[in-house]
């Protein structure tokens, strides 16, 4: 896993989260996040990575655990794979193991450990 993290670090340029995020892709209460995908336009049926920037209370980088997943709400199914998340720098995470197996309307889902319980965030993704 450690070697995996090192391999990942070499792909996208990573920096500590720049909080608050100007136009977050998802936000709830004190928490906000944005992400980028590598490759930026994933191919259906092919694996890709996600780099996440997350902020928490007092505009500080969020440093707790993040669970990520994706599903197709209209089809009521998720992915056949379970991504893993590695924290790299404060507020920055890299998730690996995404694979969207159908074209259409997907949703990336995030679960953060908020001060008062789980914080659930989501952002839509249209997979061509």
């Amino acid at each position: 896993m450690i070697t995996g993290a090192v391999a990942l670090l070499s792909t996208p340029t990573l920096a500590a989260a720049n909080c608050p995020i100007d136009a977050p892709m998802a936000a709830a209460g004190d928490y906000q996040l944005s992400y980028t995908l590598t490759p930026a336009l994933p191919t259906v049926g092919q694996p890709f990575q996600m780099t996440i920037e997350a902020c928490g209370p007092a505009n500080a980088p969020y440093t707790g655990p993040i669970l990520v997943d994706a599903d197709m709400p209209a089809h009521r199914h998720g992915m056949n794979y379970k991504p893993t998340v590695i924290s790299t720098l404060p507020g920055t995470y890299v998730a690996e193991g995404f694979l969207l197996h159908m074209p259409g309307d997907w949703r990336f889902k995030f679960r953060l450990a908020g001060a008062d319980g789980p914080v659930r965030l989501a952002h839509g993704h249209v997979q061509p």
Binding site: T3, G4, A7, V44, G45, P47, A74, H75, R76, H77, G78, M79, N80, Y81, K82, P83, T84, E96, G97, L99, H101, M102, P103, G104
Partner: protein, 385 residues
């Protein structure tokens, strides 16, 4: 003059065949065009498998071909890979389910283009072609063999022994039984990677469409064009059958029964993942030759595949290239012809589906003409003889 007459006759013929489509050109929207282009190009660029050190190696390909046709790999001396994967039958066997040393429960898939897969077998029990080539050697119902038997064969047959040592730089005896079996799997894989299906009339149409060559696109039959429109549109076939091989490489349930006998079920992908997680012969194991080992990008799906309830009774979305040659159809070979397959999708019993698949698949209630069009399209995915 004679030419003109033939042309006129051909036109009358065409009209008679397609009464509903007289002088009506089938055209595609920009969105449809983009969707169609994604079924190509064909063939894909050649690539090698990093987990197999002899992938693409000429000596290994020759040895693999020999082994593929050699019934002595099975202790009975009667079953070769080619007994079920018959070259003249698109490397399938035309039977509903395979018969090796005993009768199996699954249909023999074609091996054409198998090298491009991520998961092998109807349940995806293997993540490498060499792993999938070792599985039948030891499977009880297929060849019922063992590593020691294979090692002895490779050691005692002088021709095989020489070819093996030349390919792998060591004899099967020096290697040990299990590594020798892995090597045999890798030579078999190197050979199977060369089995690539030929270009089809669909590919010609697709490339002409990409190039904006209207003379080229006009050569593709209108019926196939209408079938293609259905395939990517109303039929929703391309939600699963996508990309140059017409498969997303994943697993689904389309309502094919998975009972294999009284009280017995084929758990499909669920059992496949269980088998995979227990196997040592994978991209994550010590026999992978990938220099990046289990951290190789090619191993990412193997690391992250999740055992979930929806895998139960799901089977691999098969490639549709060459589908005309590989009847009977489905994981258990229960549908005999392409019209039967189309009828299955047309009259789909949604109660048989997983809840999530019921949100995707519904009875298409095709008209007879639509069913014929879809069939014409599916047939155009096979090379013209």
């Amino acid at each position: 003059m004679i030419r003109l007459l033939i042309l006129a006759a051909a036109m009358i013929g065409a009209c008679a065949n397609a009464p509903s489509a007289i002088a009506q050109d089938v055209s595609f929207s920009e969105t449809e065009r983009a969707a169609i282009l994604r079924f190509g190009p064909w063939p894909p660029l050649p690539s090698t498998d990093a987990s197999n050190r002899v992938s693409g190696d000429e000596k290994a390909i020759r040895l693999g071909l020999q082994l593929f046709n050699d019934p002595r790999l099975s202790p009975s001396g009667r079953v070769a890979c080619a007994s079920c994967h018959q070259p003249e039958q698109a490397f399938a066997d035309g039977r509903p389910v395979a018969i090796g040393v005993a009768k199996g429960v699954r249909n023999t898939p074609s091996l054409l283009d198998t090298g491009f897969s991520r998961w092998f077998g109807w349940a995806g029990a293997n993540d490498t072609l060499w792993g999938a080539s070792i599985r039948p050697i030891t499977a009880a119902a297929e060849m019922a063999s063992a590593a020691e038997h294979v090692q002895t064969l490779i050691t005692t047959d002088t021709t095989l022994a020489a070819a093996f040592t030349q390919t792998f730089g060591a004899s099967a005896k020096a290697m040990g039984a299990e590594p020798a079996l892995m090597a045999v799997g890798k030579a078999l894989a190197a050979y199977q990677e060369t089995l690539i299906s030929k270009r089809t009339s669909f590919d010609q149409f697709r490339d002409a469409l990409a190039a904006g060559d209207t003379t080229g696109t006009s050569k593709y039959a209108d019926s196939a064009k209408r079938g293609l429109k259905l395939f990517i549109g109303e039929g929703r076939c391309s939600l699963c059958h996508l990309g140059p091989r017409f498969t997303n490489g994943e697993f689904d349930d389309i309502g094919i029964p998975f009972f294999t006998g009284p009280g017995k079920v084929d758990k499909g992908r669920y059992a496949g993942i269980q088998y995979f997680k227990k196997s040592a012969f994978t991209r994550l194991g010590a026999y992978s030759d990938d220099p990046a080992g289990k951290d190789s990008p090619a191993a990412i799906p193997s690391h992250h595949v999740a055992l979930q309830g929806r895998a139960f009774g799901s089977f691999k979305v098969p490639s549709l290239r060459g589908v005309q040659e590989t009847a009977p159809y489905m994981h258990n070979g229960t549908l005999n012809t392409l019209p039967e397959v189309i009828d299955h999708y047309s009259k789909m019993d949604q109660d048989r589906l997983h809840i999530d698949d019921a949100a995707i698949l519904r009875p298409l209630n095709l008209t007879p003409q639509q069913a014929l069009d879809l069939e014409a399209f599916l047939r155009s995915l096979s090379p013209t003889k």
